[in-house]
Structure formats: structure tokens, C-alpha cells
Symmetry: C2
Subunit: 456 residues, 2 copies
């Protein structure tokens, strides 16, 4: 039987999570802790984030177990007592999760997820949850920018080969679909997540035939319903003329070529030339797909230069979020045993206690500003964004399908005013703190200065 996510990855954690847990157990520290996951700042040119990865995080918490094999390994390190290993043998996550639904738009400092549980349980989950949620959120946030730049043209994820590993390849496909892409070239992602899959042909396919046009003909005959011909192997214009010949042969058989694909050179200029060649031969229905180094910036540039591109294949730069390959995100303890807590380390202050984010809209229904408040705090015109997804270690609501989350992304993204979607230097979306949170934050900070630094 396949191991569950939580069984496969119980040890995919930092060693300190286990040594700290051993200390908590030794000290009988089992009170409830709340950890809050948030992003501390925007990477350059980013003004919003798209929440993604919750489904995996919940699946992990639900099934988190240490296998006999895991325990044998931990024992072999010589670091842990039998009592602690026995504790891990019976380990279950019994806590609760409040989170933004996948596809939500959110902003810096806002909690995307809060875990409350006996401290060992909430602490042990830190590494996996940051790893998964931050990656999917990173990719969804990057992909949404291409989605915006393409102005409705379909986008396909072609990133798998240069994504950072197998798991990143699957998550790039899922997260880009969530953020408006049409589908992916990644077959396993298609199978696992039920995504539409797309494909063209490689240069090696062309070069393996004695002549380019033979490669075109063979593909068109075997896959007439999904014929996309790559025309730049030797020369785009010569390639386009050969594609015309094959498209006419297809038409004579009652078939229709879908696309030609451009993969190198000046896409705007070449696409106009190729469009003209196709149109001049009555092939208005054959569309142009462009690939090769595309991201939101290159899409916008090619369209601004009058590129005649109907669809973009977006690869590496989206799949690794090349201009911002990580978020400055953190999963911080904000409350323990009823006591709100924070650290003071230079430049890294955390918002204390369990929180809620309320969103306010203008008269046209567009997003106006957010308020981060204490979870239980009464605010004027409440518009809470975080929902409870788990209690007692079990799901408290049915999760949306990926398609439903994608629809939710579309609906939310439409409410974000254009200014904040700018690809370069968007203004900051206004986010303020509620009076209750501000007061508590100040009080806790004063107490720590007094207690730990001897200040009065």
C-alpha cells in the first residue's frame, strides 16, 4: 500500500523540531500553541500574493505518523530517549487550522494559515508546511502575473524540465493552473490533479528525420487533432512555408492544424511574418503558440510590440519564480498557553496572537483595504477571510476541488483594482491593524523589554 503524505514526510523536517519536541515532552509542556504563517515582505515588483498549497498541508496534518523505520533511524542517532520515541510512535495531529482558501488574494503580514495545537504537534509541522505552502503560493503568485499580462490568451505550463525537482514540477503545474493557466505539459500532474495536458514536438523530433517536412507530415497524420508544429529548428520562415504545405494536406483530408510554434528569435517580428504567411494561404484558423523564455515581462513586451501570438507556453521563469525564487515567509509562535508571544530580533517583529483578516470593498465591489485584527475582535464592517478547515485533527469542511479554487481565484482577481496588478512597481495595497491588535502588540512588546532586557 502507498504510504500517506504524512507517513512519507514525517522526517522531512529540521532536526531542531525533534529536539525541541523532546524538551517540551520532558517539561510536560502540552498547552495549546498557535503558529501563524505569513510573508514578511514583497519581492521586487510584487504587490499581492495568491494563496496556494492548503490542501496538501491539511492532507499532511491529517496523516502525519512516524513509521517504525523512522523511529529506528531516530534511535540510531543516539539523541533521543525511549520515552520520546514512544511518544512519537503514538503521535497524531489533534489541532485546528484556520486558513485562507486556495486562490485567495492576500498581502504581506497577513496570516495565510494559523495552526493551533499542543505545542509539540504545531511545532513539528512547521518545516513541511512552510516548504509546501510557500512554494505553491510563490508559483501561483508568479503565474497570476503571466495570466494578467496575457490578457485572456491561454497559457500552458512548460516548466517541468527546469523546475527544482520532481515535487516542484508537480506543484508548478497545479499552482499555475490555480492561477489561471489552461493546463500543463506535465503528464503526471495531469494524472494526479486532473489537469488538461498539452504538447507539441521537440527539435530532436525534427532533426531525427532526414527532412523537416517529413517530421511535420508524420506528426500531422498520427495526431491530427492536436497538431502543433515547431517551425524554428532550421529557420522560422522556411519552417512556416513547410507548415503551410502540411496544413493544406491536412485540409484536403478534412483535418485542421491547431498551431505552429515559435521557440526562438524576435517573437513579435517573426509572429507577424508567420501570421502573414498563414493568412496568405487561407490558413487564418491556424494559430500561433510562442515559447522560449516567457514570463509576464516578455509576454507584455511581445504583445506591446504587436506580436501576433494566440497562446503562450510559459516555462522556467514561472516554474522557479526566477526573479523571486523564494519568499521571506515565516511560521511564528504567536500564542502559547493563553499568553501572546513575539520575538524582537532586529527587523523581524511578529504580530501576536490568533488573528483574522477583514477585507473592505468600494462601491463598485472592488478591494479597497484590509484590516488585520485579533481573531475574536469585533471590528466595524467585518469581512473575514480566514476560514476554519480543521479541528481535532479532522477536516471541518469539504475542500473545494482544484477547479473550484481556480474559479475562486478568477472571481477574486477580478476584484483587485488594476493599479495593484501592475507588473512593475505596483503601489502597496493598504493593510492596517485593528485597535485591539495594535494595543496588544504594544503591551506585549513593553512586557518583553521589561522582562528580558531589564528595561522599565
Amino acid at each position: 500500500m502507498e504510504k500517506s503524505l504524512g507517513q512519507r514526510f514525517a522526517l522531512l523536517t529540521d532536526l531542531y523540531q525533534l529536539t525541541m519536541a523532546a524538551c517540551y515532552l520532558d517539561q510536560d509542556m502540552h498547552e495549546e500553541a498557535t503558529f501563524s504563517l505569513f510573508i514578511r515582505k514583497y519581492p521586487p515588483h510584487r504587490g499581492y500574493f495568491v494563496a496556494a498549497g492548503l490542501e496538501e498541508a491539511l492532507g499532511y496534518l491529517k496523516t502525519l505518523r512516524f513509521t517504525a523505520d523512522d523511529l529506528a533511524y531516530l534511535q540510531s542517532t543516539g539523541l533521543f530517549t525511549g520515552k520520546f520515541l514512544d511518544y512519537l510512535r503514538g503521535f497524531r495531529f489533534t489541532g485546528e487550522v484556520h486558513a485562507l482558501p486556495e486562490g485567495s488574494i492576500f498581502f504581506k503580514d497577513e496570516p495565510v494559515l494559523e495552526v493551533s495545537a499542543p505545542i509539540i504537534e504545531a511545532q513539528l509541522a512547521e518545516t513541511f508546511i512552510i516548504n509546501g505552502v510557500s512554494l505553491q503560493t510563490l508559483i501561483a503568485s508568479k503565474a497570476a502575473r503571466s495570466f494578467y499580462a496575457a490578457q485572456g490568451r491561454p497559457l500552458i505550463d512548460f516548466s517541468l524540465r527546469r523546475d527544482q525537482g520532481t515535487d516542484a514540477g508537480l506543484k508548478a503545474a497545479r499552482a499555475s493552473y490555480l492561477a489561471g493557466f489552461q493546463g500543463t505539459s506535465n503528464v503526471l500532474a495531469g494524472k494526479i490533479y486532473n489537469l488538461p495536458i498539452f504538447g507539441t514536438m521537440a527539435h530532436s523530433f525534427i532533426t531525427s528525420f532526414p527532412q523537416e517536412i517529413e517530421a511535420f507530415r508524420v506528426f500531422a497524420r498520427i495526431f491530427p487533432k492536436i497538431t502543433t508544429l515547431l517551425i524554428d529548428t532550421y529557420d522560422n520562415i522556411h519552417g512556416a512555408r513547410k507548415a503551410v504545405e502540411v496544413a493544406r494536406e491536412m485540409a484536403a483530408r478534412g483535418e485542421r492544424m491547431s498551431y505552429v510554434r515559435l521557440d526562438s528569435g524576435d517573437t513579435a517580428a517573426i509572429s507577424r511574418e508567420v501570421r502573414k504567411i498563414l493568412d496568405d494561404h487561407g490558413l487564418e484558423s491556424v494559430k500561433i503558440l510562442a515559447s522560449g523564455g516567457f514570463d509576464e515581462f516578455k509576454i507584455a513586451q511581445v504583445l506591446a510590440a504587436g506580436g501576433q501570438v494566440d497562446s503562450f507556453a510559459v516555462g522556467t521563469k514561472m516554474g522557479v519564480s526566477a526573479d523571486a525564487p523564494y519568499f521571506d515567509c515565516a511560521y511564528k509562535l504567536v500564542k502559547y498557553g493563553g499568553r501572546p508571544v513575539m520575538k524582537l530580533s532586529t527587523g523581524k517583529v511578529t504580530l501576536v496572537d490568533q488573528k483574522q483578516v477583514h477585507r473592505h470593498y468600494d462601491g463598485q465591489g472592488r478591494m479597497l483595504r484590509d484590516t488585520i485584527a485579533l481573531r475574536g475582535e469585533a471590528v466595524p464592517q467585518p469581512g473575514p477571510l480566514l476560514q476554519q478547515f480543521m479541528a481535532g485533527g479532522r477536516l471541518t469542511r469539504e475542500l473545494p476541488t482544484l477547479k473550484e479554487s481556480r474559479d475562486f481565484f478568477h472571481s477574486q482577481f477580478a476584484l483587485l483594482p488594476e493599479a495593484y496588478k501592475a507588473l512593475e512597481e505596483p503601489p502597496p495595497f493598504p493593510v492596517d491593524l485593528s485597535p485591539g491588535l495594535r494595543d496588544l502588540q504594544a503591551r506585549v512588546e513593553r512586557e518583553i523589554h521589561h522582562r528580558e532586557l531589564g528595561e522599565s
Copy 2:
């Protein structure tokens, strides 16, 4: 039973690999193809690469199988014939692999791996092989720069939480160890790859206790052999004084504190202050570990500024290779059915045919220059770097252990002259083409211009 790598990831490929394969099968194209994996150019400030990921690639090829489940999914797409699905059902990789051993130093345009097999087999493996080898090579190449900058100080991989997914987390731990790191915080990587694992404590551990010093005392009592205290939660200097108190309590019990850890602020200045506090209390044996945004640049800067740091924890920026999060690498068809092939697409010319890289050394045994030659070509003073690892789908030599590959990296890195290790703008290492390769390259290019573009 656990599925093998090749069973889990047979579908982790681009759809076009399967549609092209279906065309080859239909056309009875089963002649031997050679694909060459290489990196087209250096990212900024890079002057060498460290080969990594071969062991996984070979494990994948050895076990590549399509499961019944995979075939059912492919059938459900409606794209493939029963004949093709039958072919996949019996699929085995039967080809050969020549490659640089892991830990090798190599340069742009040099093949890191060449796969020769019936074209369907060699083509189907493309996506997984690029994905895995390029990621591990990316991380090893980045980690080697920290290794160089740290001038012998031990380095620990702390990147897991912000690595791009679970697989990247494991590979970052493996590849950084290969490139000279001492170990990792990643427990699962420790288990799988038999790596030394290390840990400290989190800010949440400190804040979960009513007072910082209580947290220190509990940890020191439970883990006296691996006590590393994080001292910046509230204030580094106050934290250091509390660490002194706990270190003296440990000394009184006959124990020795290992490290204090700095995680924020001006590391160079703070480390000098903390060093003085420790030394003033006779704690010369307590070392200083620094973490927080380290990469080769920050390590070099802190050491140049007189930082008193004994060990660095290197995280996110190494784990995602933040300043160069992907390589412009390719797996290109270079020979099919005995015929050398290439594409001409703008700016992306490929070196044809099966190749070998020969390395030349100066009188002191240091690397002087490389020559890329045809595999069978006789060159003066041969010093071949690629070895055969697989034939007929089976390993032809025992693979080195990871520790042996790490030793090999050390031995090779020592032979690379200092100039090429510069962290900023290193000069290009000299790589030339052999006469045989140059001539063949020119001939094939002429033939294509004639055949495909109608030029004479």
C-alpha cells in the same frame, strides 16, 4: 512494496515525449539516438559547474516502467493507440550512458551526460533527467561557492523550509554535502543519504518559555552533547550573557556548550562582541554559529569585516540558488542512426555527435584547459573525463558512495586555480574544440543549410 523511482516517475514527463514516441513507433524508427546534456552558458558570476545527480538518473533509467495505472490514464486521454500502449507496457531502457562522475568540475558546452539508446527510450527520459541532474548540479555549483568563501569553516544546510518542494529539499541536502558541506538540518535527507544531521533551536522555543534563560537551561540539560543556544530572540548581547550563565552551569556538571547561534543583525560586529563576552568568562571553547540569509557573498563579507564566526548555517539562498535559480541547460539530439544532427535556431547551436572531454594540467598539476572532442577521436595528451556507467540498460561499474563523490569533489576543486573560483566575474576557463569536432560541426551545418534552407 514501495514503487521504484522509474515506476513512480514514468509519467513525470512532457506530453510531447509520448506523442513523439508514438510517431517513432508508427514509423518503425528504432535506430540508436544519442542525446547530450550540457549547460549553454554561465549565470552571472559563475565560472564552473559541479556535476551532481547522476546516481538518481541511472536509478531512474534502470527502473523505468509504465504501471497499469499509468497506462489506464494514458488510454483515458484518447490520444494513443492500443499498439503504442502495448509498447509502453513492455518498455525497458536498454541503452548506454556516458557521464562525468558526480563531484566533477566542468564548464559550459561540455557534456555532463550522454544517453545512447533506441530513439524512443532516449527521448522519453529527457524531462526527468534534465529536471534531476540540472537541479543537483545547480545546487552543488552554488554550494561549492559557499564552501570556497568559508575558507575551511564547517557549513550546514539549513535550507529545507524554503527549498522549492520536498524533492528539492532532499536534493539540496545531498548536493550541498557533495560540494563540501558538513551536513544538513534535514532529518529525512540524513536518513536517506546517510548524512550527518545538525540542529539548534527556534525562536518559538525561546518564546514558549516564560523566560529565555529557562529555555536555555532545559535544552542544555536534555541535549548537553549538542547544545547550541539561539541568542538573538530578544537581544544578542543579553542573550549572550544568559548563555554564559548556562555554559558555566554546564561546565560545573562537566559538560561543554558547543555553540551559540546568531541569526540577525550585523553578524560581523555582534560576533566580535559575543566572542569577547564568551572569552571574558573563560568560554573560549564555545563556538559561534551564524545563520540568517547567508550565501557565499554574505559569508565573504562577514569574514572580510572581521566576523568571529566558526561555522555558518547556509539556507534559502543556497537551497534555491537564489541569484541563478536555473541553468540554461539542454538535452539535445546529436546523432541519430549514425547521422550527426543539430538544430540551427537562433543563438542555440548544439555540438554534434558523441563526445568526450579531455582535461589538460599545468606543471603543478592544476587544471589548464579542456578540449571537447569526438568520443572516438585520437587527441594529443588525452585526459578523458566522461566514463561509461551503463550499457544494455545495466550499470557497467559500481557507483561511488556519496562520501566518495564528496572526496572526489574535494580533490578536483583543489586542482581548479584560484582565479576561476572568484565569487565575482571569474575569467572564463579555456575550453576548445578538437579538430575532428570542428570539422564535423562545419560539415553538418553546411549540409543543413543546403538541405533545409535551399542554400548552396
